[in-house]
Symmetry: C2
Subunit: 214 residues, 2 copies
DNA sequence: CGCGGGTTTGAGGGGTTTCAATACTAGTGG
DNA sequence: CCACTAGTATTGAAACCCCTCAAACCCGCG
């Protein structure tokens, strides 16, 4: 997602910041169909974007990590087509949607960087569609966990041995299109084959090369 | 996708057009990892974006219809992370990637409209992830065909009784994450239950309300 | 006419789900 | 400090959806 970094504009964006605030864990930040006037940048904690079918099945579209914008598409539309929920307690910076849009679109270089952020997110969701449509449960879970490891490392939020993973098996299930029960079984397999182990909210990657190769 | 319509800019975009050209059916327009210097707007015919796994499983990410840009993310990145292939013979308008990007990002209003196009595509892929992750074969196929019907009608490319659908069952399978065999069986069910019928490249929707309700 | 790609149908197997019961863990209040 | 509770994880058995393999069929086309 758009992280506002990479240039002196980082400081200029700060001038637009209205305030900072926090949300409790499990708090829903916004619902599908909302037209929020404000837009957040996640500062600390985890959140996720999701959609639900009419009969209640939930698909987690992506996890939002510190530095990510909530929600990039809001730069292009008033109404968002998905819900956002805090996974842990989170703290965010608040921007005005219209002010931020004016700021970004008013300058070619900034608009270009926003376009790059869109392209990056688009590439990520395409990759995810390949996972959901074509790969096995084992592959999907391995790739999700590896993706999160890569993202966290990029942000300096992972230790060498592993990292804190505030996801339940249900979250992993809803992100990969599987059931929580089957996620549990697959994680047991991975533990047994010394690929990785996930327990008490801590993920340890024991064989990074094999994991990345999946 | 971004269709350049909706304002007097339509004509100005035409000034940027380098030329028009055509591609034969089944021709691959670009490969995953390419960094094309040109960017197309589809004028006539069908194409699709796809990705493949290392062992050859293919996921069709979206179908590209007349009016769509090939490829929107190219406005934000040099390298595209998916391949594009012509389904039928197609004709396209050719633009220079950098020229078009300069043109769009150089004006706040145009940049805003590109952002809106990004947001729309993002909403569409989110919807598709919900389909792939949570819905049954029957639902996925029904929703894909309904989506195409809606898009074609919006462009005035569908008759009242149905429309030409240049997809094989394999295409539908790769778009929905199923196998061609199972797509065939499911289409038979739909035909039997008088929902729709697909034969010889012509799709007839017999019960539009039920279809849209799925 | 023969050929190749697409479709249809059948039988069988496998990955994943569903249902159900038990065990664990963390937070809460007495 | 311990019981209580709710959410989470684990395990087993059975069913189901979809896949794989395979053969036959169809059709347009050279």
């Amino acid at each position: 997602m758009y992280d506002g970094s990479g240039a002196e504009d980082g400081s200029r964006i700060e001038a637009l910041r209205l305030r900072c605030t926090t949300f409790a864990a499990r708090r829903t930040i916004c619902y599908e169909g909302d037209a929020p006037t404000e837009l957040f940048q996640l500062f600390d904690g985890w959140a996720f974007r999701y959609k639900v079918t009419r009969d209640g099945r939930r698909q987690i579209l992506s996890f939002i990590l510190p530095g990510d914008l909530i929600d990039l598409p809001l730069l292009g539309t008033e109404r968002i087509a998905h819900a956002v929920k805090a996974l842990t307690a989170i703290s965010v910076c608040v921007f005005s949607r219209t002010e931020l849009a004016d700021f970004i679109y008013g300058d070619a270089e900034r608009a270009r960087r926003a376009g790059a952020a869109f392209a990056a997110q688009s590439a990520a969701t395409d990759e995810q569609m390949l996972d959901l449509g074509q790969r096995s449960a084992f592959e999907r879970i391995a790739r999700l966990l590896n993706h999160l490891a890569v993202q966290l490392r990029k942000r300096g939020l992972a230790e060498a041995e592993g990292f804190r993973l505030p996801l339940t098996q249900s979250h992993i299930a809803d992100a990969t299109g599987l059931t929580a029960v089957h996620v549990g079984r697959t994680l047991r397999e991975m533990r047994k084959s010394k690929l990785l182990s996930l327990a008490q909210g801590w993920l340890t990657i024991e064989d990074p090369e094999s994991l990345a190769a999946i």
